[in-house]
Point group: C2
């Protein structure tokens, strides 16, 4: 059973993120209108907003303001949105459905989707480099760098490249984990760390604990995604189900079987939660969110 | 006649930029190897390095160190390289030749080209957010923001969107100028401004003058490009000549004719140079560079 207090926090936070994205994205009435319209279409489609939720929950560890976390949450979500737009393109996963609606290149065209992804990435860095109240410039510069490292060739984009290269190949668990740590884990980790960089500084030991939590929950999130790709139908998922198998993509389910993959998600969840012990009650939201993320597959 | 002292400065600066890019780009031996190899292929193809040269020349106005200007020059060049890789893709300009070699998606594949552009953009922001010696964090944050605004929906990417939307349409000179100010002008302007942000602060009036120079020279650069697309052959250009006319793209030549377009480039050049008057001898490199950029078409 999901905690009703958590559900209302989640709903309120999602609405706050939605409003912040809405206010930040360029108006469809400004030239170039189609680009701006497609940027909004690709970002304001709802979705669970897992990364922004993680940023807000991590912000609670350090007394961060909603305005500051809201900004970094938007930046992380724009990086995520850009990656979805590009990943869905015909030269990549060639998917036509995302969050229950036509993907950007289907609703618009390939050239627009390419530019939408490009411009969303840039906008994320613009947002994160606009001074945040009460945060030292050196700290903020470090936040920009954290997001860049998580998103680039040694993070999300690099993971996507490994994923592409691995289609039709056998990967062992170590290789699969390496790929997912980059492809989805790095940005999830960045969401947590950036949220925690918006307030009182953590000790080095606390940062390490939080980082361990973020890495485990990021991987759990991917394992759960693999499980859902097999178990859920397209309507529930809002994207084409069964794509992984159809594309001969290595997944945790193809590697270890469904039951084992579910158990692996649960183990990662336990490990993630253990890492939050030093934070006591301040980590309540992070724990509830970990529940929510992993419980999707139970 | 090009000044021999300028030629040796240009050659030395180009070599310095080449070495800095070489050292900064991820090694082809690191996983994901194909992505890294393609990032290097797309960035280390030589080219005139106009934006880095502008950054270095602007750095001379303010006593910037070569190490600092080198870093920002690499960041700007990576944004430029990413834009070329994406612009050449089949869904955009569909070009097979760039700097005399197969374009990235031809040498590799479309998915790799997509990721190369994505990862080069991110790497630019990673570079620019890594602390620069002797530059205050607040100033550097402002540099990140300057690059983001120049590259995104209100700059380079937005200009590309307008360019796409304008194929086959009549544009008047105002509309064409608006498009080019975004598509190529914004990043050229950013190169100049970022170079000048690497040293002693300029007065507001000096910044305005430099900005005027940058805008005029950026537009002149585009007009010259249009002229060369008509006048030069593919071998000289290192990219497919005559593409603009073949694609029914509006250009300064199609709008005003060849002779008038050349005169317009010269007028922009005169205006750009006049804006450098307040800087006296310190602007010698910027003047020589303006000569070099516009003289290509004489």
């Amino acid at each position: 059973m999901t905690n009703p207090n958590f559900v209302s926090w989640m709903t309120a936070t999602q609405q706050q993120v939605e409003a912040a994205l809405e206010a930040t994205l360029p108006s469809s009435e400004r030239t170039p209108q189609q680009l701006h319209d497609a940027m909004r279409y690709s970002t304001l489609q709802g979705g669970k907003r897992v990364r922004p939720l993680l940023a807000f929950a991590a912000g609670e560890l350090v007394g961060a303001t909603a305005a500051n976390v809201g900004r970094i949450a938007c930046a992380v979500e724009m990086i995520h949105a850009y990656s979805l737009v590009h990943d869905d393109m015909p030269c990549m996963d060639d998917d036509v459905l995302r969050r229950g609606k036509p993907t950007c290149h289907v609703a618009y065209d390939d050239a627009t989707a390419l530019l939408v992804g490009d411009a969303l990435q840039t906008l994320a860095f613009e947002l994160l480099s606009t001074p945040l109240e009460g945060i030292a410039a050196a700290q903020q510069l470090s936040m920009v760098r954290t997001l860049a490292i998580a998103s680039g060739h040694a993070g999300m984009a690099g993971g996507q490249a490994i994923d592409l290269a691995s289609v039709g190949h056998e990967l062992d668990q170590t290789e699969l984990e390496f790929m997912h740590c980059m492809k989805t884990g790095a940005l999830i980790r960045a969401a947590v760390l950036l949220g925690a960089m918006c307030g009182q500084p953590l000790t080095a030991a606390e940062t390490d604990s939080l980082d361990h939590f973020a890495k485990r929950i990021g991987l759990a999130f991917q394992v759960v995604d693999d499980v859902l790709d097999v178990e859920a139908d397209t309507a529930t998922l809002g994207k084409t189900a069964g794509k992984d198998e159809a594309n001969a993509k290595p997944t945790y389910v193809s590697l270890m079987g469904l039951a084992q993959a579910k158990q692996f998600a649960r183990d990662l969840y336990d490990d993630a939660l253990a890492a939050l012990t030093p934070f006591g009650d301040k980590a309540a939201r992070l724990k509830q969110l970990a529940d929510y993320i992993v419980a999707r597959s139970f």
